[in-house]
C-alpha cells in the first residue's frame, strides 16, 4: 500500500478569512486601530515565520511568540483561530464571562499563547530571559516579541534592550508595531534606539507581507534583531 497524500487540515487559512473572523468579535467590519495595526505582522508570523504547531502547541522546539502589546487582541485571536489553535466558535464569546478570550490575552487560558499580557513593558524582559534560557538549554527555538511604539515608553523595555544586546541574543527578535501612538515620540526613529545598543535593525512597511517575511527571517549572528513595522498613524 502506498500513501499518496499526507493528512491535511480541512481548510488552509487565507488572509481573506480574517475580516470575517474579526467580525465575529466586533460585530461589524469596523475594527479598532489597536486590533488592526498588528494584523499583517501577525498573519505573516503565523503563516510564514513561526515554527509552531496548533496540534502540539507546547512542543519543546516551538518558536516562542510573546504578544507583549496585549491591548486590542482581536487580530491575534483571529489569526490563532484561522490556524486552528482553538475553535473559531470561541470568537463569538469574545470578552464574555467564561470565555477564554479576554480583552487582553492570557496564556493560561488559550492554546498557543505563551504569556498573559496587558500591562505594558513586560514582554521584552520576559523574552530576553526566555532567549537566554533556551540558549542555556541548547534549544535553537526563536523568541519573537511584539511590542507597540507607545509601549516602548515603559523603561523596562530599555533595560531589556541593553541586556539582550549585551548577551548577544541572536535568537531574539522584537517586532515594533509603529502607528505613531507614543505621546512624546521617538526622535531619530525607533530603530536608532535599538541600533545604539547593538541590535540589528530594519524598518519595514507593516503591511508589506514580503518585506515583513524577509525582515523576520533574516538572521544576524551575535545580535538580536529589531523589526520596526510602520503602519498607518493612529488617528
Amino acid at each position: 500500500m502506498v500513501l499518496t497524500t499526507a493528512p491535511t487540515t480541512p481548510h488552509t487559512p487565507t488572509y481573506n478569512d480574517l475580516p470575517v473572523l474579526l467580525s465575529r468579535m466586533t460585530g461589524d467590519e469596523k475594527h479598532e486601530p489597536s486590533a488592526t495595526s498588528t494584523l499583517d505582522v501577525l498573519w505573516v508570523l503565523y503563516q510564514r515565520v513561526l515554527n509552531v504547531d496548533p496540534r502540539n502547541p507546547e512542543a519543546a522546539d516551538r518558536d516562542r511568540f510573546l504578544l507583549s502589546k496585549g491591548h486590542g487582541p482581536m487580530a491575534y485571536y483571529a489569526v490563532l483561530a484561522a490556524h486552528g489553535f482553538f475553535p473559531v466558535e470561541w470568537l463569538d464569546e469574545f470578552g464574555q464571562p467564561g470565555s477564554p478570550l479576554g480583552h487582553h490575552p492570557d496564556g493560561a487560558l488559550i492554546p498557543g499563547v505563551e504569556i498573559a499580557s496587558g500591562s505594558l513593558g513586560h514582554g521584552l524582559p520576559l523574552g530576553v530571559g526566555l532567549a537566554l534560557g533556551l540558549r542555556a538549554n541548547g534549544n535553537d527555538a526563536r523568541t519573537i516579541v511584539l511590542v507597540g511604539d507607545a509601549e516602548l515608553d515603559e523603561g523596562s523595555n530599555h533595560e531589556a534592550i541593553v541586556v539582550g544586546a549585551a548577551y548577544g541574543l541572536d535568537a531574539l527578535t522584537v517586532v515594533v508595531i509603529d502607528n505613531d501612538s507614543s505621546s512624546l515620540g521617538w526622535p531619530g526613529g525607533i530603530a536608532r534606539r535599538f541600533a545604539t545598543e547593538g541590535w540589528a535593525t530594519v524598518d519595514v512597511n507593516g503591511r508589506d507581507h514580503d518585506a515583513l517575511t524577509r525582515a523576520l527571517t533574516t538572521h544576524h549572528s551575535g545580535r538580536p534583531t529589531a523589526v520596526v513595522a510602520a503602519v498607518e498613524p493612529r488617528k
Binding site: 504569556i115 498573559a116 524582559p125 530576553v128 530571559g129 526566555l130 538549554n137 523596562s156 541586556v163 548577551y167
Partner: protein, 307 residues
C-alpha cells in the same frame, strides 16, 4: 555577612551540579559569583543595575524550564520591581527563588533607601509565595537546596543577624522550643535568640518560625495554652497578625505583634541602635511581653481553652 557567604557557596554549588539552576544578578554580589559566571556563562547572568529586567529575565528563564535564582538587596528585589513579581512570575504562573540581603535595616548606616521592613507584607498581597526567614546559615543552605527541587515561588530573606544554632524544621513547620502555660511567643528567624533571652524565667511557650508562608497555624493551635499570642517578627510589625487571627478564628484570643514600625526613623547608626529604638532588643521585648501577660487572667483563659 555569614548568611550571604553561605548563599554564594551553596548557589555556586547548585549551579555546578544542576543544569536546571540559573542565577540572575543586578550587580549586587556579582563579585562573589565571578567564578560561577566564568564556569556557566549561559546560566549566570548579570543584568547590571536593572531590577525590572532582573525579575523579567528570571521569569523568562523559568518559562524555558530553568530554575532561576534572583538576588539583590530586599528593597531592590521586592519593592522596586513589584509589578514584575506580580505579573512576570505570579500571573504567568512561573516560579523563581528570590534571595534578598539587607533585611529590614541591616544596612542601617546607609539609610532608609536600603531598608525593606515591608517586603513580606508586600508579598502577602500575592498568592502562592513560600517565604523563608532563616535564622542561621545552615537554614539558609537547607532552604536554598530544597528550593532547587521545585518550581514554586520562593522568597529567602537573609540577614546579618543570626542565632547561635539552627532550629528549622525541614517541613516548614514551627519548632516548639519551650512550653509553658502562659502566652505563646512566635519568634521569627533571627529574632529567636533574643526572644529566648527576653523570656527567660517567664511562663510562656516559645515557637520558632523560619518559614512564615505558609504559616503553621496548626502547630500554633496545638501548643496554645493561654489563648494569647506574641509575634516577634524582624520586619514590619503585624505582618503575620492576620495569619494568627485566621488560625484562631474560633477562639477568643489576645495578640501582641512586635516588629519594625511602619516608619523607619531618619537616622543611621548600627542595626542594634535601630533594634533599641523600636523595642526589638532583649529589654524591649521582655518589657512588652511582661506587660502583655496579666497573671491574674491566666487561669480564666486556661479554663476557657481546655473547655
Amino acid at each position: 555577612m555569614i548568611m550571604r557567604d553561605r548563599f554564594a557557596t551553596v548557589t555556586s554549588e547548585l549551579l555546578d551540579n544542576d543544569p536546571r539552576v540559573s542565577l540572575v544578578l543586578a550587580d549586587i554580589s556579582a563579585d562573589r559569583f565571578a567564578e560561577s559566571q566564568h564556569q556557566h556563562p549561559d546560566r549566570v547572568i548579570n543584568v547590571g543595575i536593572r531590577e525590572q529586567a532582573l525579575i523579567g529575565t528570571a521569569a523568562g528563564m523559568a518559562h524555558s524550564g530553568l530554575r532561576p535564582y534572583a538576588h539583590s538587596y530586599a528593597p531592590f528585589l521586592v519593592e522596586r520591581p513589584f509589578e514584575q513579581l506580580k505579573l512576570d512570575l505570579g500571573h504567568q504562573d512561573l516560579g523563581a527563588v528570590l534571595v534578598s540581603i539587607g533585611a529590614s535595616y541591616d544596612a542601617s548606616d546607609v539609610g532608609y533607601t536600603h531598608h525593606a521592613p515591608g517586603d513580606i507584607a508586600l508579598l502577602d498581597t500575592l498568592p502562592e509565595w513560600t517565604v523563608h526567614v532563616p535564622g542561621h546559615p545552615d537554614e539558609v543552605e537547607a532552604f536554598l537546596r530544597a528550593a532547587s527541587q521545585t518550581d514554586e515561588r520562593v522568597y529567602v530573606r537573609l540577614s546579618e543577624n543570626a542565632n547561635a544554632t539552627a532550629h528549622h524544621r525541614p517541613d516548614g513547620g514551627f519548632q516548639v522550643l519551650r512550653q509553658g502555660t502562659g502566652p505563646t511567643v512566635v519568634a521569627v528567624g533571627p529574632m529567636l535568640d533574643r526572644v529566648l533571652a527576653a523570656t527567660a524565667g517567664l511562663d510562656v511557650t516559645v515557637l520558632y518560625a523560619s518559614t512564615v508562608r505558609p504559616f503553621d497555624g496548626e502547630t500554633l493551635r496545638f501548643v496554645l495554652a493561654e489563648p494569647a499570642v506574641v509575634l516577634v517578627e524582624p520586619y514590619l510589625r503585624g505582618t503575620s497578625a492576620p495569619e494568627v487571627a485566621r488560625a484562631l478564628t474560633d477562639i477568643p484570643h489576645r495578640q501582641l505583634a512586635l516588629g519594625v514600625p511602619p516608619h523607619t526613623a531618619r537616622f543611621y547608626g548600627r542595626p542594634r541602635d535601630h533594634d533599641a529604638a523600636y523595642g526589638l532588643d532583649v529589654a524591649g521585648i521582655r518589657a512588652r511581653i511582661t506587660a502583655f501577660s496579666p497573671t491574674d487572667d491566666h487561669e480564666r483563659y486556661a479554663t476557657h481553652v481546655t473547655g
